[in-house]
Amino acid sequence: KKRFLNMLLPPDRDKNGQVVLDRTETTAFARRSLKWRLIGEGYSSQLSIEEQTYAFKLAFRMWSEVTPLDFEEDTTSPISQIDIKLGFGTGRHLGCAHTFDGEGQEFAHAWLQSDIHFDDDEHFTAADTENGISLLKVAVHEIGHVLGLAHSHRRGSIMQPNYIPQESAFELDWSDRKAIQKLYGSCEGPFDTIFDWVRKERNQYGELVVRYNTYFFHKSWYWLYENRHNRTRYGDPIAVLIGWQGIPASDLDAFVHVWTWNQDASYFFKGTQYWRYDNENDKAYTEDTQGAHYPRLISEGFPGIPSPIDTAVYDRRIQSIYFLKDSLVFAFDINKNQIVDHFPKRLTDVFPALVINDHPIGNIDAAYYSYTYNAIFLLKGKEYWRVVNDRERWQNPSLPYNGLFARRNISEQWFDICNVHASMLKM
């Protein structure tokens, strides 16, 4: 055999053996997990190493929050395995062919899919409020170049060539997100559970006001989704155990909010157990006002319901919880505390397809009732199916009860719900 052939990489692997998605020549990285390092010979003389590292870590995280890219700080691997190297220098610096000009004008530059250099003659600052140039903002801009973005003169864009002092905390706006997503695609599912968390508050007139927030859960982290802004909350995802006390820290199966005139209870499900959440004290009950102890077996609280379940959703029209498992649906009447007659039924019968051969069939990841859209959604993988609601049936009586519209991509309905590298979760 020709031994030299063993040295050639398989067509789908790079020099590090990582899977490469696309080998065509583009301005985008082919890999989705990238390593970066602040090089030792390139520390700034103005800021502590911790301040520099934190600014860069946050800058990478901000891009990670809107793209299917992970960035990991790597201080140990051989330098040849580092995708993005960052460093400070003055004048002739770091072996770079492009000399810095001293204080003023040029503050940094970047190389496509490569390194970033910062002019240490500039007064970089770590905090937003100080006079000087925000290292965070410059780093976000330069990382944009490394990832393949060019300058933009659009007002509000992070890719404007000139430095604009921050009046408030800056973020990547809609257009910047779409620009980077043209190169790297959008973030997609699956998700473990999704729900609208309902809060009751008193306004300044003492009137009871009901508000809700939408939450997406995946593995051990969650996002608050801001429906009015078509994005997640800045800074998400957050670890589940930080935001939700007393429930399992990962891989939840379902969330159900039972809300009637005389009942108002929120439940989380995982495996064979479920937890009731105490809204007032923002943690799971260990014992509720009825004397029930948690976690509690699903078979005890919901007799006849198998476990573990795939997902569940409360339907207030019939005051029942739909429990979904495999290709079956169990409707559980919360007033009678028993399974509704003639259930379980097939998912395809309870939620009939409106489009032939367009149905998830079973193994649903998440069932979600949205107050924004007044509809139930069934999510599976990267796709979702929306359920016909009462208003649509009133307008078009030919639509079947609980009919399923054609599938669509989750990323076309809820935008930029992106993971970050595990090392960045606790920032």
């Binding site: 770091l94 062919a97 530059h109 496509l112 300058h151 060539p161 800045y234």
Partner: protein
Amino acid sequence: ERLFHSRDHSDLQDSSSEQAKPVTDLHSAQQFLSRYGWTEPEFPIEPAKDPVFTEALKKFQRANDLPVTGILDDATTKAMNKPRCGVPDNQVTENKNATLVTPQSNTFIQVNDTALNQSIGSNYTVNHEKSPSRIR
């Protein structure tokens, strides 16, 4: 270290390295436009009479929301002297394909056609939406 004598470092002296040379005249403006990709790297003896220079200046003014005069006025000079990124805004070459370069060479990444059009103003629109004000 950078030299200082006061306890609070308020007399911290600038480093011995040079200050960036500001854009003050037509020649330095020509260098600026060339460096950041608004013109080819040519240096006409009389840039004020060079239509290519004038056109490039106008494009720069347009892209930066300045009065499009084609003249190196105070507003334009001020815009050129603002702190900025060292990556060129445009790459004025015939070949518009991507070129990957190493830090040891003298060119940067190419700007794709869409961004090039944005930079030179042919498809440039101003987005007046408010900056996001939510605290992270």
